[in-house]
Symmetry: C2
Subunit: 420 residues, 2 copies
C-alpha cells in the first residue's frame, strides 16, 4: 500500500493545484510517504458506519449549509413564507425535494391520502369528486419542469439588493413530476372545453390560493400531479396532490388541490388582482402575466460561491430556463456585457425545465463582471435590467427576468452589482 | 363556500369510484353538505405548519414506509450490507438519494472534502494527486444513469424467493450525476491510453473495493462524479467523489475514490474473481460480465402494491433499463407470456438510464400473470428465467435479468411466482 502515498501532500502543495499550471512538478519526484497525508487518509484502517440506522438518508454533516432558507423580513410570518433553493451549491438540473423552493400562504397542511378529495364542478355534464385512488387510475405522464415564483428576483428591481444567488434567484425548483393531464379529468366530468372558458383551481388550505387558468392552457400541458422526483410530494409541496402548470408562475401551481371549477370568465381572485400583477407608472396594472420569460443566472462563482483557487482553470456554471419552451443558447460575458461568449449547454434541457450551462475558462486573476443571457426557442433574448425598467417602470415586483451581474474581484470574492 | 361540499361523500361512495363506472350517478344530485366530508375537509379553518423549522425537508409521516431497506440475512453484518430502493412505491424515473440503493463493503466512511485526495499513477507521464477543488476545475458533464448491483434479482435464480419488488429488483437507482470525464483526468496525467491497457480503481474505505476497467470503457463515458440529483453525494453514496461507470455493474462504481492506476493488465482483485463472477455447471467461471443487460419489471401492481380498487381502469406501471443504451420497447403480458401488448414509454429514456413504462388497461377482475419484457437499441430481448438457466446453469448469482412474473389474484393481491 505504501506506493499509494509516494506523492507527498507537501510536494503537491508546492506544485500548486494540479490543473493550474498544466503540470505538477513535485509529485512524481517525492521521496516517500508523507506522515501528514498518511494520517489524513486512515479510513482504510477501520470500518465505517452501517447505513441501516438511517432508512431515509440525509446529507452528510459537512453539507449542512446546503439547505433551503427563508428571508425573515420578506413575509410577516413563517406561516406565510418562502423557502429558497440553495442553487449556489447545486449542480446539474434536478432539485432534490428536501431543499426545493416552496411558497406557502397559510402554512403547510397535513392531508392524508384517505382524506383527499378533488371536485370538478361548474360548467360540466357531471360534477365529480375524485379520491386519491381515483387519480391513480388514469393514464399518467412524467415530465421535468421548473417551478418559479413570479416574485423571484423581485427585490432586484430597485437595484442590487441581496448578496446571494440563493436569495436573488432561488425561488425556483426543477423536478420530475408525475401526474394525470388535467384535460383527462375535465373530459371525465364532461366539461365545457370551449377555449373562451376558464378553470378556477383551489387548494384545501386556509389561503385556498385560488387561481383562474384559461382553458387553452388547462387542455395543453397542465398536470394533476402526485409525485416529484419519483416519490410522494412532500407536505410542503402539496401532498398528496398539486397542480403543475408548466412554464407559468409558481403561484398557479396550486398545492393540496381540492376543487377545479369550470367557469365562463376569470374569477379575479385576490391572488390574481391585488397580488401577482404589477402597477405601471401611470397607475394601470399589468395583469395575466402567467408565462415566465427566458432567464438565466450564474450560480458559481457567485456571492455565496467565491473562487478560492486563484487564477487558472475555472468552471463558470449556471442555470437557464424559459416558460416558452427550450433554451437554445446561453451567452456569458466576463466584462459586464461588452463582449459575449457562447456557453456550453450541460445537456439539452427538456421543454420548460432548467438547463445547466458552462463556460470553462482560464481565469487570468483580474476582476470580472459576470453576466449570463439566455435565449429560447421563440428567439426571445433575456433583457437587461435597464430594458426591463423601461418597459415596466419602477413599481414592478413580479417577473423580473433581467440579466444579473456579479462583480468578482481579484481575490475571487463575488458581489451583487448593477452595470448600466 | 357551501357549494364546495354539495356532492356528498355518501353519494360518492354509493356511486363507486369516479372512474370505475365511467360516470358517477349520485354526486350532482346530492341535497346538501355531508357532515362527514365537511368534518374531514377542515384544513381551511386553521393555519398549517410553518416550514422554517425543517431546513432540509423529509417525507411526510404518512410515507414513512417508503424507505430503503436491507435484508438482514443477506450479509453477515450491517457494516457490509445492501439497501434496496423502494421501487414499488416510486414513480417516474429519478430516485431520490435518500432512498436510493447503495451497497457498502466495510461501512460508509466520513471523508471531508479537505481530506479528499485522488491519485492517478502507474503508466502515466506524471503521477498526479488531485484535491476536491482540483476536480471541480475541469469541464464537467451531467447525465442520468442507472446504477444496478450485479446481484440484483440474484436470489431468484433458485425460484421465486422474495415477495416484494423492492427486494427482487430494488438493488438499483437512477440519478442525475455530475462529474468530470475520467478521460480528462487520464489525459492530464499523460496516461498511456492504448486500448490494451486498464485502469485499476480503488476506494478509500477499508474494503478498497478495487476494480479493473478496460481502457476503452475508461475513455468512453466513465465519470469521476461529485454530485447526484444536483446535490453533494450522500456519505453512503461515496461523498465526496465516486466513480460512475454507465451501464456496468454497480460494484465498479467505486465510492470514496482515492486512486486510479493505469496498468497493463487486469489486477484480478477479490471483487472480480471470488466475487462478481459466476460458476457454470462444469466448474469454469463466467467472468468480466460488466454490462447489465436489458431488463424490466412491473413495480405496480406488485406484491407490495396490491390493487385495492377492484375491477375497472388500472394503471400497470414499471421500469426498464439496459446497460447497452436506450430502451426501445417494452411489452407487457397479462397471461404469463402467452400474449403480449406493447407498453407506452412514459418518456423516451436517456441512454443507460431507467425508462418508465405503462400499460393502461380495463381490468376485468380475473386473476392475471403479469410480465414485462424489455428490448433495447441493440435488438436484444429480455430472456425468460428458463432461457437464462439454460445458458448459465443453476449456480449463478449475478446478472439475472430474466422476465419476472407476478400472480395477481381476483382480490388484487400480487405474489412472486414462476411460470414455465
Amino acid at each position: 500500500m505504501s506506493d499509494l502515498f509516494k506523492p507527498s501532500r507537501r510536494a503537491f502543495l508546492r506544485g500548486g493545484a494540479a490543473v493550474a499550471a498544466g503540470s505538477v512538478a513535485g509529485a512524481a519526484n517525492a521521496a516517500g510517504p508523507d506522515p501528514l497525508i498518511t494520517e489524513l487518509q486512515d479510513w482504510e484502517s477501520y470500518l465505517g458506519a452501517g447505513v441501516d440506522e438511517t432508512p431515509y438518508g440525509l446529507p452528510i454533516r459537512f453539507e449542512q449549509d446546503v439547505v433551503r432558507r427563508n428571508v425573515e423580513w420578506l413575509t410577516a410570518s413563517p406561516i406565510s413564507s418562502i423557502n429558497f433553493t440553495p442553487i449556489h451549491a447545486l449542480e446539474g438540473t434536478i432539485t432534490p425535494q428536501g431543499c426545493a423552493f416552496e411558497r406557502h400562504h397559510s402554512g403547510a397542511i397535513e392531508l392524508a391520502k384517505d382524506d383527499f378529495r378533488l371536485m370538478i364542478n361548474g360548467l360540466v355534464d357531471k360534477p365529480l369528486v375524485f379520491s386519491y385512488e381515483d387519480i391513480e387510475r388514469f393514464p399518467r405522464e412524467n415530465h421535468v419542469y421548473f417551478c418559479e415564483c413570479a416574485a423571484n428576483t423581485g427585490m432586484e428591481w430597485a437595484g442590487a439588493q441581496l448578496n446571494g444567488v440563493q436569495f436573488t434567484h432561488g425561488m425556483i425548483h426543477n423536478m420530475e413530476y408525475t401526474g394525470v393531464p388535467l384535460r383527462t379529468l375535465l373530459a371525465e366530468a364532461g366539461a365545457d372545453m370551449s377555449l373562451d372558458k376558464w378553470v378556477y383551481v383551489e387548494g384545501a388550505d386556509a389561503s385556498s390560493n385560488g387561481r383562474s387558468i384559461p382553458m387553452e392552457k388547462a387542455l395543453d400541458d397542465v398536470l394533476v400531479a402526485f409525485k416529484a422526483n419519483g416519490e410522494a410530494l412532500r407536505m410542503e409541496h402539496g401532498y398528496p396532490v398539486r397542480l403543475v402548470v408548466p412554464g407559468w408562475e409558481g403561484n398557479m401551481w396550486v398545492k393540496w388541490i381540492r376543487r377545479i371549477e369550470v367557469v365562463d370568465r376569470a374569477v379575479e381572485s385576490r391572488e390574481e388582482t391585488s397580488k401577482y400583477t404589477d402597477v405601471y407608472e401611470d397607475g394601470t396594472a399589468r395583469k395575466w402575466t402567467w408565462v415566465m420569460d427566458a432567464k438565466s443566472v450564474i450560480t458559481s462563482p457567485s456571492p455565496q460561491m467565491p473562487i478560492k483557487h486563484g487564477a487558472g482553470p475555472l468552471v463558470i456554471s449556471g442555470l437557464a430556463w424559459s416558460g416558452h419552451g427550450q433554451i437554445t443558447r446561453v451567452d456569458v460575458s466576463r466584462n459586464g456585457g461588452i463582449t459575449w461568449e457562447t456557453a456550453r449547454l450541460g445537456k439539452q434541457g427538456d421543454t420548460k425545465a432548467l438547463t445547466r450551462f458552462y463556460l470553462d475558462v482560464d481565469w487570468d486573476g483580474a476582476p470580472m463582471l459576470l453576466q449570463a443571457r439566455a435565449m429560447d426557442e421563440t428567439g426571445y433574448v433575456q433583457p437587461t435590467k435597464d430594458q426591463l425598467r423601461e418597459q415596466r417602470g419602477e413599481n414592478a415586483v413580479y417577473h423580473n427576468n433581467c440579466i444579473q451581474t456579479w462583480y468578482v474581484n481579484a481575490e475571487g470574492v463575488a458581489e451583487n452589482v448593477e452595470v448600466s
